[in-house]
Every structure is written in C-alpha cells, then in structure tokens.
C-alpha cells in the first residue's frame, strides 16, 4: 500500500522575491508501507526540504502530495498537526530536544497534543528499554552524550506509535560506532513494520536501506547502490 505519493512537486522558498530559491523541482516519489528508504545528496540539494514536506512541517509550492491516499493540499492546519502527532515521527540531526527537561518529559512531548488520556507506563518502559535509555529517564537532556540524545529523539518519535519515521541526517553529528548503532535501531523498527525514510550523506549507511534515492539540484532519482 502506498503511504506517500508525490506528483510533480515543487518547492520554492521566497517565491517571487529576488531571494527566490528553487529547492525542489518536480519530485515524483512513491513510498510503500514498510519501506526502508534512504535519500542521499550533497548539502543544499533539497533533502531536508523534501523531508519537511513529507512530514507536513512545511507547505509545498505546487504539485500534489497524498498521505495514505489523502490529499494534503486541502487540509487545515489542525488536521496537519494531527497527522504530525499521530502518523509521523520526526528525528532531526540536531535532535530538537528540550535541553532543560528530563528524558522522560522529552519523550512525552507528543502525548501533550494527542487526545489519548494517558500513555501506559509499560509502553514508555518498553520503548526506552529497547533503545537502551531506560536508566537515563530522569536525567536532563543537556547532560547526555550525542548518541544518547539521538536515542531520546527516536523514543520521542515513537511514543505515539506513528506509521512512518522521518529521519533527517540522524547520524550527522555522531561517530561511526554510534551511527551504526542508530542505524540498527532503524532496521529493527523497519522489521517491526514501520516505514522509514532516512536522509543521510553517508553512503555506507544508505546502503542498508532497501530502497535508495539520490537528490541532485532538487530532482530525485531512484538509484541502485
């Protein structure tokens, strides 16, 4: 089943001004449920832009975007917010965590915006256990190492049990060993049925995915590596 479908998608920043940037120029992309995709490309090629659009964080300029068969264009802000909350988990390069808060509070952020009454403690434990951060749960994020932070970010993206995980260079600021550990986590999540889109410029890591794309100057190509 097709979870993401982009047709002829364009994204211009500062459209019409003299600072206009044509970040995406006609993207056609289909991602099926359960896929583990990697997207590689040089800096400035439009990887993040694409991921923000797929993650309903930014709006497209033209083209169509179907999320689970629904057209994103007609959706209201609150519907998009609900999608981000329920269906999408986002992992960023710089982790996007609240530094002063504890690991637990960071993981629970998405639950602040969901209708769900309360998340079961067992579920939090399970997720943290699996990511190896259970004993860190009451520690402030600012005291953690890079690898630990990225695990916290992943735990947060998982808490509302989304269908799809979007990771924008999640290993960008990690050493090789930690990078592989994080990649293993994504592989495991994929085995459990989650759709994963991994943006990276590390070819070694990209190779582990089962679908490969490259972006060049705002155009995406399917690649075999």
């Amino acid at each position: 089943m097709c979870i993401i479908e982009l047709k002829n998608l364009y994204k211009y920043y500062n459209k019409g001004k003299n600072t206009e940037v044509r970040a995406l120029k006609g993207i056609n992309l289909k991602i099926n449920k359960g896929d583990f995709c990697s997207i590689v490309g040089v800096s400035g090629s439009g990887k993040s832009t694409l991921l923000y659009i797929i993650g309903c964080i930014d709006k497209l300029t033209s083209g169509t975007f179907y999320f689970e068969g629904r057209d994103i264009n007609g959706m209201k802000d609150c519907e998009l917010a609900k999608l981000r909350n329920q269906k999408i988990g986002f992992v960023l390069q710089e982790f996007g965590l609240i530094e002063e808060e504890t690991v637990l509070n960071n993981i629970l952020v998405p639950t602040l915006f969901s209708k769900q009454k309360k998340i079961e403690e067992k579920r939090i434990e399970e997720i943290c256990e699996e990511l190896g951060i259970l004993e860190l749960i009451n520690i402030q994020v600012k005291k953690l190492s890079g690898g630990q932070r990225q695990r916290v970010a992943i735990a947060r993206s998982l808490i509302n049990n989304p269908d799809i995980i979007l990771a924008d260079e999640p290993t960008g600021s990690l050493d090789t060993e930690n990078s592989y550990k994080i990649l293993e986590i994504f592989e495991k999540l994929n085995e459990q049925g989650k759709t994963i889109i991994l943006v990276t410029h590390n070819m070694e890591l990209a190779r582990k995915a089962n679908k490969h794309f490259t972006i060049k100057d705002g155009i995406i190509y399917e690649a075999d590596i």
Binding site: S48, I57, D58, D77, C78, G96, E101, L112, F113, R156
Partner: protein, 398 residues
C-alpha cells in the same frame, strides 16, 4: 485542560531570568505610578465634588491650630460654642457652619448633623433621591435624612427612620422621625468637617466613605440643642471685602487659620508629594523606558520560544495555538505582577499618608496603563513569529 496547562507551564518556564527582570521592573515602576496616581485621582475626584458644590468667593474655611495643645480635633458643646461665637462676632462674618457627630450609640449608624450653611455649601454625590434643598431646611417638622449606600437594603427614598439623640441640657433621649430624601453614592467621598492639616487642601476636605461605614446625615434644624462632638473645621460665609479683617482677627487669637478655595487648591499641589510637572515628565520617561525594554525582551526572549514552539509544532501543535500560548504568557507575566504590585503599593501609600484611602480606580488605571505594555509585547510576538516558518528554525539549528 490539564495538558493545556502543562503546555502553558512549559512556555512559562522559558527564560526564567529575563522573566524575573521583567517582573521586577513592573513591580518597581508600578510603585512609582501609584505614588503619582493616588494624589492625582483623589484631587480629580474631590474637585468634582467641589465644582458641584456652592463654594464661592465668599466661602472661607477655618481650621483649628494644631500647634495649640488646647485645641482638640473635636469639641463638645460648651467649648465649641465659645469658638463659634467668637468667629460669628468678627466683623464681616455672616454665617458659620459645622459638622457634628451625635454622641449616642442608640442608632445603628453614625449620625452626622450638618449646619444649614454646610448643607447649602457642600453637595455630596447622591445615587438616588437628592441632596438637601433650601425648602428642606425651612421647617423642622419633617427632618430630611440622607443615608449611605449600605443602608439601601433597609431603607429607600421616602421611607422613615426614627433616630434617637440626647438633648444637651437635660440629657434626655429624644426620638425624631426622619424621612429619607437621598442615598449617597457607593464609595463616594464624605465631608466629615475636620481639618486634617494646618494647611488643608482640597483633597483634605473629603475622605472616601468606607464601604462598610453606615452613616446618615441630617441638617442641624432641630428645635433643641443636641449633645454632640463638633468637628474642628468651620465653613464661614463672609463679606469678601472684609477678608483681611477676619484673617487678622483669627490669626491674632491663635485659634486657627482661614483659607479660601484658591488657597486650598494651591495647597493641594504643595502638600501632595509627587504631583508636579517635572515628576510627570520623569514618570513618562520611566514609562517609555519600561515599554521599550519589555518590548526588547519579548524580541530577545523569543529565540527560546521559537525553539520550544518549533519542537511542539513538529510533535503536533498548530503554529497558531503555540502563538496563543506565548501571548497568554506575555499578558499574564505583565498583568499579574501589575495587579498585585498596584494593590500592595496602594495599601502602602494609604498607610503612610492617611488622607488617602484605598481607591480601586487607581488600580484599574494602573492596570490599563500596563495593558498597553502587554498589548505591545503581544503585537511584537505576533509580528516576530507569525511569518516565521518552522523549517527556518530547523535550518538555524542545522
């Protein structure tokens, strides 16, 4: 609801130090504002009563000399009659008027007697019915009475009240039927007839009527001399051309001082601290400074808010709702300290300067003044964050 509060609390927690600085700035400046506003408001409110009253060129006010130890704040019948007689005998004085407090606790309110001249000169603010008119004072068959607002539940305009008063000579209790002709405004000013200063001002003439204070006023037109405590301030109606003579006589005797309305007005700006032009400019400068610095802070602080807002946005909050939380935070952060500080500083001013009583208007005006700051902070926040895209922030982080 609980989640909403939690989100709000998380926004509130950002930039603690800057928030504390803002709160301190507000608390301190509200104190300055209060010290300025309290006298101004009292002056404005009492001037409104003066303007409505019949205080004219030929009206002068006597206040007893506080430096004289023998001069008490209130006089009982005998002493008082001596002073009154003395003043009445001065060439140029045509009439005098005083306020008396009936010395009895038989009535369940404080009963004040106003001499005719007081009734005709001072007009207190009435919410229902009317103030004493000439015709009310002509016959002593029906005694008109004016009551305070908190007696409204028991009496209304037209109802009768039986009051009791001791006769001075015989000490016999007398019952008098009165008819209610007016009800004072709630929380208005009362003329108690005392002169609080050797240099009294317009503001000194009136005191705010306490909401719980039950009082009634009748004109002093009884057919007997009641036992009373007379207040030391005397209203004098005189021939203005003989003012110098009256002034000299009273001055020489050492019993007190007289003032014309113009002198009272002048004393207002002399007595009252923090009430002159240069201080208003100082206040304006301080106020503008605060507005600018709080405006500046809201721009500076928003970097942290942008971060939190973006994280929340990614996790499922709409941008607009996030803005609402920040604006609410701005408003509460400014208004709550303003209200608390304003109430507190008002209490302090009234405690140290007893001629002032707590006036909610001062608090309201202060809050309105500071709401403009809250509004500015909100507008700045909106301008700053409205066009802002989360993707830009994510780029900044990269």
């Amino acid at each position: 609801m609980r989640k909403g509060l939690e989100i709000f609390y998380n926004f509130l927690k950002q930039d603690k130090l800057k928030n504390i600085i803002i709160i301190l700035q507000i608390i301190i400046s509200v104190f300055a504002v209060t010290f300025l506003l309290v006298p101004i408001i009292k002056n404005v409110e009492t001037m409104a009563i003066i303007n409505n009253s019949n205080i004219g060129e030929n009206t002068i006010l006597f206040s007893s000399n506080f430096n004289l130890l023998i001069s008490p704040k209130t006089y009982f019948n005998e002493n008082y009659n001596i002073i009154k007689k003395f003043i009445n005998n001065i060439d140029g004085v045509s009439e005098t008027g005083t306020v008396y407090l009936a010395s009895t606790n038989k009535n369940d309110f404080n009963l004040f007697l106003y001499d005719k001249l007081v009734c005709n000169t001072i007009k207190l603010q009435i919410q229902e019915g009317r103030w004493f008119e000439k015709s009310d004072l002509e016959s002593n068959k029906i005694i008109p009475i004016i009551i305070s607002d908190n007696m409204k539940s028991e009496y209304h305009v037209g109802s009768t009240i039986e009051i009791e008063m001791p006769e001075y000579k015989t000490e016999e209790m007398k019952k008098i039927k009165c008819i209610v002709i007016g009800i004072l405004k709630r929380g208005t000013y009362m003329y108690y007839g005392s002169s609080n200063h050797t240099d009294p001002s317009v503001s000194d003439l009136f005191s705010k009527l306490h909401l719980k204070e039950r009082i009634a006023i009748i004109p002093n037109i009884l057919d007997f001399e009641a036992e009373y405590a007379a207040k030391d301030g005397i209203i004098i109606n005189c021939d203005i051309s003989k003012l110098n003579n009256i002034y000299d006589k009273i001055n020489l005797s050492g019993i007190g001082k007289i003032n014309t309305l113009n002198m009272l007005k002048q004393n207002d700006s002399k007595n009252v601290i923090l009430y002159n032009e240069s201080q208003i400019y100082q206040f304006l400068i301080v106020y503008i400074f605060i507005i600018m610095s709080i405006g500046g802070y809201t721009i500076l602080t928003s970097l942290n808010y942008k971060r939190l807002l973006t994280i929340y946005y990614i996790c499922g909050l709409t941008w607009q709702k996030g803005l609402k939380y920040i604006i609410l935070k701005n408003i509460l952060l400014i208004l709550i300290p303003t209200i608390l500080s304003s109430i507190f500083s008002n209490i302090i001013v009234c405690y140290f300067k007893t001629i002032y009583t707590f006036n909610i208007k001062v608090v309201i005006i202060t809050v309105l003044l500071y709401m403009s700051i809250a509004a500015l902070a909100s507008v700045l926040t909106i301008i700053n964050l409205k066009k802002y895209k989360p993707s830009e922030f994510l780029k900044e982080v990269d």
